[in-house]
Symmetry: C2
């Protein structure tokens, strides 16, 4: 999606040669107008798939999933919880995510009553790197007997394994910007996508 | 706001006689259509105040703040971070929040570049209980030299101190539903508000 790529080029910064910081619009300060545009783009790419639930994971996925919901007829959004919460039921589906950054595993949880076999689910997240978070959400969707229709990502790190792993396993993955390379001089190189033609 | 109260009566549950659970639409599963309606209501209540930034705190405030932004001309939303994050700058405003539930204090942080003296800020959050989170956000807004225009809350717990403290300190606080009493038989009693007439 060209407007997202333009925004990344304009405002993204590369830290330590490998971290792409987009905190000015994606995960600290939020550009809700851009998120809604992303929602309309996802609605086009997943048209006619009968999506009736959007699932994401706290924290950074929540804002995007919220802004995407209107483009999917305001279907319910459910965010998997990473942190302890009084608001969570005892009856949950859960799965484990390994964080390479922090080198620990953590549990993500969704209350059983908010996911069932009638749900046709779109997973939304801000970043895709190694795909571990998506795999854990996929596991939860499987436990619930729901159908995973696809995965919509804002920024895929094309130089990490997640995208390849998910596509090879047959998942319909749509990333609105795929970053192929972060160059030392600060240049950000995107992978060309047919969808942008 | 009558539609929010109706939703609380229909779907809210009282746990242990004191916790109001609204995880079916407010803080686990999310009703984005209702959030947008809340946004329009806040826009009416804070009309003509020149609000150009919405501030909230992770996690539960993020979805509501995101859905409220369109009613404020898609002004930027910034969420204060509670948890460690690679995405956060070294240069931050921070303040301490005491959690009565967990009996610990934690730091909330906003990168300095996303808040400045030109900002006229609306704080948005899902719940108001003792008001400690709002006070910490107010402290950060003061540090940045920005102006706090008001505070918009979905559900205020009228039987706790926060609302009184904030109003007494001169803050323009608008709560869309004020729960006065959680009765043992499960009845939820609201405080009447002039705005609902």
């Amino acid at each position: 999606m060209q407007s997202l790529k333009d925004k990344i080029i304009k405002e993204g910064r590369i830290v330590d040669g490998k971290i792409l910081k987009v905190d000015s619009f994606l995960n600290h300060q939020l550009d809700v107008k851009l998120f809604e545009e992303m929602g309309r783009e996802f609605a086009k790419r997943f048209e006619g798939q009968g999506i009736n639930k959007i699932i994401t994971i706290e924290t950074s996925g929540i804002a995007i999933a919220t802004a995407v919901a209107p483009a999917f007829d305001y279907c319910p959004v459910v965010f998997a919880k990473k942190h302890q919460s009084l608001n969570l039921d005892a009856e949950v589906y859960q799965s484990s995510v390994y964080s390479f950054t922090k080198q620990v595993s953590y549990q993500i949880k969704i209350a059983k009553k908010y996911l069932n076999e009638k749900d046709r689910v779109l997973i939304i997240d801000d970043f895709l790197a190694n795909g571990k978070a998506v795999e854990a959400l996929e596991d939860i969707i499987r436990q619930a007997g729901a159908t995973l229709v696809g995965v919509g990502i804002a920024i895929e790190k094309g130089f990490q394994d997640g995208g390849k792993l998910l596509r090879n396993s047959g998942i319909h993955l749509e990333s609105l910007a795929i970053v192929e390379l972060l160059e030392e001089d600060g240049t950000i190189v995107f992978k060309d996508e047919q969808n942008d033609l």
